[in-house]
Symmetry: C2
Subunit: 287 residues, 2 copies
């Protein structure tokens, strides 16, 4: 057990954010800060205060398990409407850990080749190997979100996918992948402000895409698709967490805690030396 | 031209570190700090002070050129004896920039499949695409370093490789890849201290490999191989920089400056919007 720094967390957010039975997305306030009583300023301080433990656990995980054939890993799946802050999570939560232990996979609109295969085909090779933390910036869930809203696949195929996802994730969990699925939940008003900022600032124009407004106009359909996806795929092996994200600082803090929980659960230990320390000390001294 | 923060740099280190004609590796002191008059404390401060410019230039590069078919990129090649601090460069110099714009490739001992191909076969797919910063943690230079010292290839093949490398890198440069080749230069005494620390600390045992001492015993051969490789492959398109690395803080500062130079040279600009800003503002307001 590591000593925890003093923070403004009053409760472990995991059970508060987990989408259990009877979960209703429309009951989650995007501006709320479940389990946390601080503000933006304390939030930034606490993020930094907890980053040391995250770094050490990541390094232990890497030290103990990378380059091995089997062993635990962590997979953070990030899903959200545009501007919800996926990139900020990667940068500010995972930015503190050693880059060599993190694999980032961003899934964009599928290519022709990808479309010619099952929707999980492009996902499987990107699952983090033993000792690694993988991050999916969008994921196979696009295929039951935009895939459903835009009717890119028929209703029957969408149905099949929920089951395929559950089977796939159960297999991964069995193999040692600790899956943390996060929906960053923003409000349409907050998104409007963030998109407007992109239009107002020349250094943000490149982040704006007219298609973002097209998707925005389908907000209720997307929320319904998220509701269904979360209902159908929040399993014991791979639960969904819905993280209020109108306050970026809270979303970052909360995802950091979810990652900490996963890593504490793995509890990776520094591996024993696979050589004779005294012999090596002598060899080195003589060299 | 961006305004530069006040730092303890007295000279641009690039020309001081570049391996020009008549370069002698044995004339470079691993404890020296060319171009810099500060100490460890100021070094850390200055690294932070300059990270803002690095971040902005990286973001501009990414914004302007990623997802395009051609355009500039940066490739940092890191070569060094064990413990010289390659990992620390990645973490502390590149740790500040957006991870989505950085591609890290660590080249270990080649696999059987890799050995069945030309030595550049595994390298080519890892060259950073437009808009990206790529980092090679070890590289194709291993094939003329350990490859030469350990006689993994015949003398004639090693000879061929210098030329193949120069051709390859010239092609990359032609295609827009700004190549920054860095040898982190440590002393054998410093390496001994760093290896001993790995033996002394249980949380560092995993970083120690008895093979490191085997290579260490061949130090003069390695220095000769570096000397020759640098002589033969320091070209205008892809010069070598030899960075004294006994002081980790200096090596990090210096590599940061070399990257800044490459990025300033590219001078990436925020791309113009490829949509009508006023139209989008209206669409968004109404949505």
């Amino acid at each position: 057990m590591s000593t925890e720094p003093q923070t403004q967390w009053t409760h472990d957010p995991a059970p508060l954010l987990a989408a259990g039975s009877g979960f209703r997305l429309d009951a989650v306030s995007p501006r709320s800060t479940p389990g946390y009583v601080g503000n933006k300023k304390s939030g930034r301080k606490d993020l930094k205060a907890c980053s040391g433990e995250l770094d050490e656990l990541q390094e232990r995980l890497f030290a103990a398990h990378h380059d091995t054939k089997s062993g635990p890993s962590v997979l953070l799946v990030l899903q959200a409407m545009d501007t919800a802050g996926k990139g900020g999570i990667v940068r500010h939560v995972l930015g503190s850990v050693d880059p060599q232990g993190v694999e980032l996979a961003a899934f964009k609109a599928p290519t022709k080749e990808e479309l010619a295969h099952d929707f999980l085909w492009r996902i499987k090779p990107r699952v983090p190997g033993p000792g690694m933390i993988g991050v999916f910036d969008r994921s196979h869930y696009e295929d039951v979100l935009i895939g459903k809203v835009r009717e890119l696949a028929g209703a029957k195929e969408i149905e099949r996918r929920y089951e395929a996802i559950n089977d796939f994730e159960a297999e991964l969990a069995e193999a040692g992948v600790h899956i943390v699925k996060v929906m960053l939940h923003i409000s349409p008003d907050e998104q409007k402000d963030r998109l407007m900022e992109r239009l107002d600032r020349p250094d943000k124009h490149w982040k704006y895409n007219p298609g973002d407004v097209d998707e925005r106009l389908l907000w209720p359909d997307y929320m319904q698709a998220y509701q269904t996806a979360i209902e159908r795929t929040s399993t014991e092996a791979a639960p969904w967490y819905v993280v209020p994200a109108d306050r970026k600082w809270y979303a970052r803090l909360a995802v950091q805690r979810l990652l900490l929980d996963a890593l504490r659960d793995i509890d990776p230990q520094w591996p024993d030396a696979d050589y004779d320390i005294d012999v090596e000390r002598e060899r080195l001294a003589e060299s």
